[in-house]
């Protein structure tokens, strides 16, 4: 324990140097900016900033890049709440109740609780990283292909809990999401799959392209169709910050969200993406009146936002202790480290303790800075909603187009986004909800990879999923969750049938 304080002391003394504080602030600011801008994500930004960090001290450079990463997570929820555009995989869930809150004139409260929840989660998760990084790493290694597959199946069952409407429709769109995730070159053979012969699809469908289309553009189209609707948002703006009562209601969700997010974030296979979904489902199950969810329930923002941020912090554990990047942003961080001559892995902690502990300390400082940056900005964001919609929606469109183009300089992605905008519009018209589609899409890639690996390793035996205790347990949990979620729906439809 004494060691820990000595280490943290070292970390803080590194992180609070004027230079590193400035880097941290800069990173958080840029991160917030790119997170808020639809389409521009941390990946493109970090990639572009990499050369600029060449001549910096590596600790400062990494603190700045890390700041961009979790700053973008913060900013991503702003876009999700205000514009119904999830800029990041992890802010998909926030669109559900966060944007609804904004429509109810509670944009400020939603943004405030997202910021506060994220800060609380970030603080706790930083402690987790500092105290448990090393033992948790070993735990993460227990997760082989079969376990990941089981975890993904569990994640997919959340789709049914996520939505308000029909279970069958939720299942259908989840499957469509999975199907879309298989488009592009096969991970093993490199063959083109379901590309309809279009070269634009060979690289697969990019998450932001899909999300901008079926969430962002579809929302614009919906607003254009209902002019009364969009003006209702502006009629009353209400409180800017959450009240004490709101906070009290959110303590539970924040704590549970942090726990879930932190635990899933540790998994080197990008388990963090599941955190917000899991937290939302849990809060909805625990709520006395689940029907409030989807209509602007503050718990539905607080929980997932905490999970999202906690996961963003603990995702550094596999990177710093195993040297294995759990997602594309972390892979870039590996690149940033190697450019600076630091090769991330089990030895970073002993070989570069100032870097390791400095980064951990800077995570907390960064979270504090994000709170300081974001709370005053809430007023500005909310005022942004007052911009007349006739000017607002062309700007949203322009930002989406530029953002999508810059993710990998592909003009065809912009066109694809437009097509998915039409798909999103169609989904609304046919009564499908888009969130499960994105869930399926996000989990699809990993689900297939792990399924194929597990079956090769077991030489074709499905028993491997049941025999292995962790994977068997997760699958059992998935069955229970699914039955619990489906039962009320079945009962209801039977009632309906009887009445007729």
């Amino acid at each position: 324990m004494g060691d820990l304080f000595a280490n943290l002391g070292l970390g803080f003394s590194t992180a609070v140097s004027l230079e590193n504080l400035a880097f941290c602030f800069l990173g958080c600011l840029v991160g917030t900016l790119v997170g808020v801008l639809p389409g521009v994500g941390p990946i493109a930004t970090i990639a572009m900033l990499l050369p600029l960090t060449f001549n910096l001290d590596p600790t400062g450079a990494l603190i700045m890049l890390a700041g961009i990463y979790y700053g973008a997570q913060y900013g991503g929820s702003t876009g999700a709440i205000l514009l119904h555009i999830p800029g990041e995989v992890t802010s998909v869930v926030t669109t559900l109740d966060g944007h609804q809150m904004a429509r109810n004139g509670q944009a400020g409260i939603a943004l405030g609780i997202a910021a506060l929840g994220s800060f609380a989660a970030g603080t706790m998760a930083t402690i987790v990283v500092a105290v448990l990084a090393v033992p948790l790493t070993r735990l993460a290694l227990l997760f082989g292909a079969a376990e990941y597959f089981a975890l993904m199946v569990l994640g997919l069952t959340l789709a049914v809990v996520l939505v308000r409407g029909s279970v069958l429709k939720a299942l259908s769109v989840t499957i469509v999401g999975l199907l879309l995730s298989t488009v592009g070159t096969d991970l093993e053979t490199g063959e083109e799959r379901l590309t309809l012969g279009l070269s634009a699809l060979t690289g697969g469908i990019h998450f932001v392209v899909l999300a901008m289309g079926i969430f962002g553009l579809a929302e614009v189209l919906r607003n254009l169709e209902n002019p009364e609707h969009r003006d209702a948002v502006k009629a009353h703006i209400g409180r800017l910050l959450p009240s004490l009562d709101d906070l009290k209601r959110c303590i539970g969700p924040i704590l549970r969200g942090t726990g879930l997010g932190a635990a899933l974030g540790i998994l080197p296979g990008n388990g963090a993406v599941l955190g917000p979904f899991a937290s939302y489902s849990l809060e909805k199950k625990l709520a006395r009146d689940p029907s409030r969810f989807g209509r602007g329930a503050i718990e539905g923002v607080a929980g997932p936002e905490s999970a999202n941020n906690a996961g963003a912090q603990t995702a550094f554990i596999p990177l710093l202790t195993l040297g294995i990047p759990p997602n594309a942003v972390m892979a870039l961080m590996v690149g940033a480290m190697t450019i600076h001559g630091i090769i991330p892995g089990p030895l970073v902690m002993t070989k570069s303790p100032t870097l390791f502990w400095g980064m951990i300390a800077s995570m907390w400082i960064g979270n504090l800075m994000l709170l300081i940056i974001n709370l005053p900005l809430i007023g500005l964001w909310v005022r942004l909603l007052r911009v007349p919609y006739r000017l607002m929606f062309p700007s949203i469109l322009l930002f989406c187009c530029i953002g999508i183009y810059s993710t990998n300089n592909e003009a065809s992605n912009v066109i694809m986004m437009a097509i998915f905008g039409l798909v999103g519009y169609g989904l609304q018209k046919f009564g499908f909800e888009p969130a499960p589609l994105l869930l399926g899409f996000i989990l699809g890639g990993l689900l297939e990879e792990k399924l194929r690996q597990a079956l090769i390793l077991s030489r074709g035996s499905f028993w491997t999923f049941v025999q292995r205790p962790v994977s068997g347990g997760l699958l059992l949990l998935a069955v229970v969750v699914f039955i619990l979620a489906v039962l009320p729906a079945i009962r209801e439809s039977r009632k309906k049938a009887l009445i007729e």
Partner: protein
């Protein structure tokens, strides 16, 4: 008689998607359980999607449900058209042309649009975006390749 037109149409769409998936994935090897090929999952998911569609479609004859919403033409055509125009124009013409064009085309979608305002706004937004994305975030977005080469 169809009692839930919305479900019937949605189900039909899912069936169509399943068929396209099966058709497109037919050439891919499914492999064996011991070595799953690239085609297995697309095939299985297409079939599942089709099955969901069938159940939804069949259900539409039994239980009463929502009617079909009316689709509007102007909004989607202008907004999505604007995005497509941007995609086509950005590489050859750059942001200076593609930006205002996207804003103006999108603005056609709304009856409330005031033209002088929109035109000024389009120019201001484009200048702002050039500053923000190209110089602020140093993203390699073409500004005016025909004029300054990039």
């Amino acid at each position: 008689m169809i009692k839930a037109p919305q479900d019937a149409a949605g189900g039909g769409l899912l069936i169509a998607l399943g068929l396209v998936g099966v058709w497109e994935g037919a050439a891919l090897a499914s492999g064996s359980l011991g070595h799953v090929g690239p085609g297995l999952l697309p095939l299985a998911l297409s079939v599942l999607s089709g099955m969901c569609g069938l159940i939804l479609f069949a259900g539409a004859f039994r239980t009463k449900g929502s009617k079909l919403d009316r689709w509007s033409l102007r909004g989607p055509a202008c907004v999505l058209g604007a995005a497509i125009a941007f995609g086509l124009a950005i590489k050859p013409l750059g942001l200076v042309i593609a930006g205002p064009m996207a804003v103006v085309l999108a603005a056609l979608a709304d009856r409330e649009t005031r033209w002088t305002e929109t035109l000024i706004f389009a120019v201001v937004m484009t200048v702002f975006c050039v500053g923000l994305f190209r110089y602020g975030l140093s993203l390699p977005i073409p500004i005016a390749p025909w004029l300054i080469g990039s």
